[in-house]
C-alpha cells in the first residue's frame, strides 16, 4: 500500500463523511432555520424516500428517476405532516422536538406493520477505481456532488426567486409579511415540503449504499440532528457547511487514528465541546464575530 493511496484515502473519507452529513442534514436545517422546528421524524421521511426509490427502481425506473420520485413522494408526505401536525408547533423548539419524535415512532412502527421487518436493497452504481493500491467506490463521490448541487439549488431558490424572498420575509417578520399580502401559512407548508423533499432525495441516494428497513431513518437522524444544532439557525446554509466541514474532519481523523466507532463517538464529543464555546451554533458565532469586527 503506497503513501499516495493512504493520503487519498483520508481525503476520500473526508468528502464521504461530509456528503453523509450534508445530505442527511440539508432538509432538516432548512426547516429549523426557516421555522424554528427540529423535525425528529426527518429520518423517517428519508426512510419513506428510500422505500419509494427502491420500489420505483425494482419496478423498472432508472435510478435517477427513482430518486426524483423519492423527493416528490417525501415532499407530499411533508405537506400532509405540516397540515396535520407541524403547523401547530412553529417556533416552539421543545414541543416540536417531542411531537416530531412521536411522529418518528409512529411512522417507523407503521412501516413495520405495513411492510414487515423484511429489508430492501438497491445496487450501488458506478463501480470503483483504485489509487495507490486502495479501491474506492465512485458512488461516494457522486453523493458528495449531489449534496453540493442540492445545497446550491436551495440557496439559489431562497436567494433569488419570488418564493424565496417571500419565505425569508415570513421568517424575519411574519406579521409584516402577511400585511404585505404574503400567505405565510402557504409559505410554511411549502418550505416544510421542500425540506422533506430534500430528505426524500437523501433517502433515495442512501438507499443505494445501505439496506432499507422500517428503521432506516435511525442511521441518519442523530448525525443530522447534531449537524443542525452545531450549524445553528443564524444562517442555516452556511451553518450546515461549517458544521459538516468541522465534524467530518474530526470524524475522519478519529476513525483513522483509532477506529470507526471512535470516529462516530468523536462527532458527539466534538459537537459537545463546540457548543460549549458557541452555544447558538457556528453560524451565529461567526455572525457575531463579524459584527464585532465591523464595529471596530
Amino acid at each position: 500500500m503506497e503513501l499516495s493511496g493512504q493520503i487519498f484515502s483520508w481525503v476520500y473519507q473526508y468528502f464521504d463523511n461530509m456528503a453523509f452529513l450534508l445530505l442527511a442534514a440539508s432538509g432538516l436545517i432548512l426547516i429549523y432555520g426557516m421555522m424554528g422546528v427540529i423535525n425528529m421524524a426527518h429520518g423517517e421521511i428519508m426512510m419513506i424516500g428510500a422505500y419509494i426509490a427502491a420500489s420505483a427502481f425494482h419496478a423498472g425506473a432508472p435510478a435517477p428517476v427513482a430518486i426524483v420520485a423519492a423527493g416528490v413522494g417525501a415532499g407530499l408526505a411533508g405537506v400532509v405532516l405540516e397540515r396535520l401536525v407541524i403547523r401547530h408547533f412553529y417556533n416552539q423548539l421543545l414541543s416540536s422536538l417531542v411531537v416530531t419524535w412521536g411522529l418518528s415512532l409512529i411512522i417507523s412502527q407503521a412501516a413495520l406493520l405495513i411492510l414487515g421487518p423484511s429489508i430492501m436493497n438497491m445496487p450501488t452504481p458506478f463501480g470503483s477505481f483504485s489509487v495507490g493500491g486502495f479501491s474506492f467506490g465512485v458512488y461516494r463521490m457522486v453523493l458528495f456532488a449531489v449534496a453540493v448541487a442540492l445545497i446550491v439549488a436551495v440557496w439559489a431558490l431562497f436567494r433569488f426567486t419570488a418564493f424565496g424572498i417571500a419565505a425569508r420575509a415570513a421568517m424575519e417578520n411574519p406579521r409584516m409579511a402577511a400585511a404585505l399580502g404574503v400567505d405565510t401559512k402557504r409559505i410554511y407548508t411549502l418550505t416544510f415540503a421542500i425540506g422533506c423533499a430534500l430528505g426524500g432525495i437523501a433517502g433515495g441516494m442512501f438507499a443505494q449504499t445501505a439496506t432499507i428497513s422500517p428503521f432506516f431513518g435511525q442511521n441518519y437522524t442523530p448525525m443530522a440532528f447534531i449537524t443542525v444544532v452545531m450549524g445553528g439557525s443564524a444562517n442555516a446554509i452556511l451553518g450546515l457547511i461549517y458544521a459538516a466541514l468541522y465534524l467530518a474532519g474530526v470524524q475522519t481523523v478519529a476513525s483513522n487514528v483509532f477506529n470507526p466507532y471512535v470516529g462516530y463517538v468523536s462527532i458527539m464529543a466534538s459537537a459537545l465541546i463546540a457548543l460549549l464555546v458557541m452555544p447558538a451554533g457556528i453560524s451565529d458565532f461567526i455572525q457575531r464575530r463579524r459584527a464585532r469586527a465591523m464595529e471596530r
Partner: protein, 236 residues
Amino acid sequence: MAAAAQLSLSSVKSGYGRVKVIDDVSLTVATGEIVAVIGRNGVGKTTLMKTVIGAVPALSGAITFRGVDVTRLDATRRARLGVGYVPQGREVFARMTVAENLALGMRVGDAGRTNLDRVFGFFPILAKRLSQQAGSMSGGEQQQLAIGRILAGRPDVILLDEPSEGVQPNIVQEIGRIIRRLQAEEKLTVLIVEQNLALIRAVADRCLIMDKGRVVAEIAPQELDDPETAARHLSI
C-alpha cells in the same frame, strides 16, 4: 368630501385576549381623504390600525373596505384587496436588501417596472440604495423604504402609524409633501396616527381624537394651532 366611503368601521371592538383595547370605534374615511387619529399614548391608536389591517382580530363590529366586509378576512387577504400598512417602527426587513423589500411590496399589486419608477419618483434615494441591507439604513431612509414598499403594491388605502417617529425634521416635511402629492395625484386614501403637530397640520383633512379605546371627538386640524388644544390631545 362627498366621495364614497373607502374605509369604514362600525362599532368595532378589539384587543389582545381578554384585554379589550378598542372599545366601540366607528369611523369613515372617504376616497382621497386624509384622516389623522390623535390622542395620548396608550389610548389604542396602534391597536386600531392593527385591527383595520387584520393583524389583531375584531371581537365585534364590522370593517368594510370599498363596500366589502373584510372583518373576517386575515391580514393577507386584506392586503391583497388594497390595504397598505406602514407600521410604527417601520418594520422593514432588516436582513434583506432595499430591492427585496420593494419586491415584497410589489407582490400584492399587478405592478411592474414602471410602478417602481413611480416609487423612485417619490423617494429617489431608494433607487440609489437598491443593493443595501435595509437594516443598515438610517431611520429616515427606512421610513422612506417602508412607505415606498407599500406604494409599490399600489394600495387604495394606506395606514401610517407614526411615520415621523425617529425621523429627522426635513425628512418628516418631505414625507408630508409626498402624502399630499399622493392624495392629489392618485386619490390615495390615508389613515394616519401621528403625534407630530407639524405633520398633522401639513396633511390631515380632519382629526379624530381617541381616548380609552374610543373616538371621543373630531376637530379640524387648524384647531391644533391653539397650544392648549394641542397639549390636551397630543403626548408631547
